[in-house]
């Protein structure tokens, strides 16, 4: 997960502060050194680091910090504020043209992920805005780049405009735009070839495409693993094309992603999206404030909640809530829930968004095999309908049958039933707003409180849904 290393280091640096009542100048100096190292190790450009540390130090050394009652909190806040300020205050939406089509152009180095991002972004626009995009294949240089875009277009049922590799990219874009006008596409996404920012000839080509297409959005696609070079790349493309935003790709790796900070600092242009996986739906809106929180180890609870709210089908949620109330939470619901959770993303990804788990050293080697969920489902599917609804029926003989039927050892069946019982208990508790026993999971201090707040929010949402449901039921009867 991005920035994990950064949060680890900052937390280590700040944990010393947290224990003390007062902060000395020496403490500030030591902390600043740790922050500097953490940022450098995370590949944040050294020039950016220098400014950042200077700003934080100046603010931290102010009297209000040293005299305040909770100096540790103040420094955390200053670092957090500064990070947020550098990365931008809020999520910046895509520019939209007043008249269709909105033209979006992707630029970047070779292998940054432009073509994949074109696919992901069109899926995002279709899912969220019911868009009818047209993709223009303007990468005539890399072998099979056009094929790649066509395959993606087929997967997503999105039309792709191409003229093969024999035509000038500028001409391809011209004719592509004409076709979009004809077909009344509301979005046009232009995939361009990867190039170095110092390649004069190819940069001129981009400038020509820009002059022709007047794109509403020029998105610089940057590999989040980029090192110190990130500033040069961003500067080069920005000076030449005046980019409007940035997409940070491959953020699901173990990179610390310091490039995000560097790029933002040197261009002042917002990061709009982050790519977090190989699948076409693995594109997320970039929330700078949440990212700053994540750096400080607060976890990215807000993103998790957002995902949960989007994925958790309301109707199913209501059914679960009803069953819990009647205390008949059964295996069918358990499977349902598991499906919902796996819709949110891979398990290790979700776990890491929970405060306290994000930089728990024990989590480093935590990998959830996607097959585990499949195995658990297989177990449930090997049960009779009666067994699924009434778990108390499951005596050893039945368990043996289920193990044989699902092809897993009986230990796994027992484990799964135990897990189910825990989930059942927890669902009941959560429903009543009782979080005792879950305290340990959330951790202490600010993290814990944040986590609980998030959990509360989820439960409140669930309750609200239920009330709504009861109301409609009443109305119908």
């Amino acid at each position: 997960m991005a920035f994990e290393g950064l949060s680890e280091r900052l937390q280590k640096a700040l944990s010393g502060l947290r224990r003390k009542g007062k902060v000395s100048e020496q403490d500030v100096r030591d902390t600043m050194r740790e922050i500097r190292l953490a940022l450098l190790e995370a590949d944040v450009n050294f020039g950016v680091v220098k400014d950042f540390v200077k700003n934080v130090r100046e603010k931290a050394l102010g009297a209000e910090v040293l005299d305040s009652l909770t100096p540790a909190q103040q420094i955390i806040k200053i670092v957090n504020d500064e990070l947020t300020a550098t990365m931008g205050e809020a999520a910046v939406p895509l520019n939209k043209s007043a008249h269709i089509p909105t033209v979006i152009m992707m630029v970047g180095l070779q292998g940054a992920g432009k073509t994949t991002t074109v696919g992901k972004l069109s899926k995002y626009l279709m899912d969220n805005e019911k868009a009818r995009p047209l993709l223009i294949a303007a990468d005539v240089y890399r072998p099979a780049a056009i094929d790649q875009l066509k395959v993606i277009g087929e997967q997503l049922s999105v039309p792709v405009f191409d003229m093969g590799t024999g035509t000038d990219p500028v001409e391809i874009v011209r004719q592509g735009l004409a076709q979009a006008a004809l077909q009344k596409n509301d979005y046009v996404l232009i995939d361009t070839a990867g190039r170095l920012q110092i390649d004069e000839q190819l940069m001129t080509e981009l400038a020509n495409i820009k002059d022709l297409a007047h794109p509403d959005e020029i998105l610089l696609v940057v590999d989040s693993m980029t090192g110190q070079a990130a500033t040069d790349v961003a500067k080069g493309f920005n000076e030449r094309l005046d980019i409007t935003g940035v997409v940070l790709t491959k953020l699901d790796g173990d990179t610390r992603g310091g490039a995000a900070l560097s790029i933002r600092a040197v261009t002042g242009k917002p990061i709009k999206f982050v790519g977090q996986g190989e699948k076409m739906d693995a594109l997320d809106v970039f929330y700078p404030d949440r990212m700053a929180n994540r750096i400080l180890g607060m976890g990215d609870m807000m993103t998790l909640i957002d995902k949960a709210q989007k994925n958790y089908d309301e109707k199913q949620a209501q059914e679960v809530a009803e069953k819990i109330k009647e205390n008949t939470f059964d295996f069918n619901d358990f499977i349902d829930q598991m499906d919902q959770v796996s819709n949110m993303g891979s398990m290790d990804e979700i776990m890491k968004m929970i405060p306290g788990l994000a930089n728990n050293p024990a989590m480093k080697n935590f990998h959830v095999d996607p097959k585990d969920i499949a195995h658990q489902k297989a177990i449930v599917y090997s049960m009779t309908p009666q067994e699924r609804e009434d778990p108390d029926l499951l005596n050893p003989s039945r368990r043996r049958r289920i193990a044989a039927g699902s092809g897993v050892p009986i230990v796994k069946v027992n484990q799964m039933i135990k897990q189910f019982n825990q989930a059942k208990k927890m669902m009941n508790q959560m429903y009543k707003g009782n979080f005792s026993g879950m305290e340990g999971m959330m951790g202490n201090g600010i993290q814990g409180r944040l986590g609980k707040m998030a959990m509360n929010k989820m439960v409140r949402k669930q309750k609200k849904n239920k009330k709504k449901r009861l109301k409609t039921k009443h109305f119908h009867s």
Partner: protein, 331 residues
């Protein structure tokens, strides 16, 4: 005799530069100007040898993607060296530092084997691994061309069945290079493709088999397991193969390069690194970092977009290119 002295001897005495060296030179122009210029700028601002000077030096090294640890280690060693040699004037200090940098670079690479290994009999297999977008397929395309030119019978295996258009991309290279490609349907089992390719390489007496694989981030456990399986298939069919497992690394990558090398090494035991897009990185430092902390030799470098821009890595030429202006000044 340190590397510095041998470099001086080899390149200093008005020797004619070969065409190859010029190529290196051109490809590294950006790298060198950043590294050399930064070093020169540092010396230009030099007033006295104090902590600020070494801080600046450290920052300059970090800025060249040398990596934080390597930068700190280098700076410490340089600090001692300057003290030891009692260098005070600007020229003395700059000479000591450049010499030390070159020597450290040479030491870390001692006993390093930068050559590609081929099987004594039967087909040679090179397995290419790396993260998404590093340049695996392009590297294979260029290398196949060069091997073909050398009169070798080359076969390609399209082991990236996952990414959209990846198979077509390799097939396109196959067409350009006039080299056959073993491939399957998109979404097929890569290990099966590799099995077929190895079998064909054996049966039809190919000299070299280049195996492409899908890009994968090193923290994806299941994808790394798949790579392990691909390698097992190769070893089962040809016990001495693969002769090389090459990690393809984007030269603009920062500290994550170390994690990549570590994880891929754990899964497939990499034998060398292909450093791609070196012409645009503007940072020669990554080579230093790789040597210093990974001890995996760089075997090929990508210096441009053209077919023959993929070159065998010659560490001496590289370091010569990096420090060229600085060494000549002192002669």
């Amino acid at each position: 005799m340190g590397l510095f002295d041998s470099l001086k001897k080899a390149f200093g005495g008005g020797q004619q530069e070969t065409a190859e060296e010029e190529k290196y030179d051109a490809g590294l122009e950006k790298s060198r100007s950043s590294f050399g210029e930064k070093l020169n700028a540092l010396f230009a601002n030099f007033r006295s040898v104090d902590e600020d000077f070494f801080d600046d030096l450290e920052e300059m090294l970090i800025g060249a993607d040398v990596g934080f640890e390597t930068a700190e280690q280098l700076t410490d060693e340089l600090r001692d060296e300057v003290k030891l040699k009692n260098a005070k004037s600007k020229d003395e200090v700059s000479q000591v530092i450049v010499q030390k940098l070159v020597d450290i670079y040479g030491e870390a690479g001692e006993g390093e084997d930068n050559s590609l290994h081929y099987a004594e009999a039967g087909p040679t297999v090179f397995l290419f691994v790396g993260v998404n977008g590093a340049g695996k397929t392009t590297t294979i395309g260029k290398l196949a061309h060069q091997l073909q030119q050398d009169g070798k019978k080359v076969l390609l295996a399209a082991g990236d069945t996952f990414r959209a258009g990846a198979i077509q991309q390799l097939q396109e290279w196959g067409k350009r290079d006039e080299v056959p490609v073993v491939a399957t349907e998109p979404g097929g089992d890569p290990a099966a493709v590799v099995f077929d390719a190895v079998k064909r390489a054996k049966d039809d007496n190919f000299d070299v088999l280049l195996v492409d694989t899908a890009g994968r981030l090193q923290n994806k456990v299941n994808l790394m397991k798949e790579l392990d399986k691909i390698k097992r298939v190769i070893v089962r069919e040809l016990p001495d193969a693969p002769q090389e497992v090459l990690l393809v690394l984007d030269a603009t990558t920062g500290q994550n390069a170390l994690s990549q090398a570590k994880e891929f090494n754990q899964t497939t035991k990499i034998s060398g690194i292909v450093l791609t897009k070196l012409d645009g990185s503007g940072k020669g430092g990554i080579v230093l970092a790789i040597r210093n902390s990974l001890h995996v030799p760089v075997k090929l470098v990508g210096l441009g977009e053209k077919m023959d821009d993929l070159q065998v890595f010659d560490p001496n030429k590289f370091v010569y290119g990096l420090f060229k202006g600085l060494i000549k000044e002192e002669n």
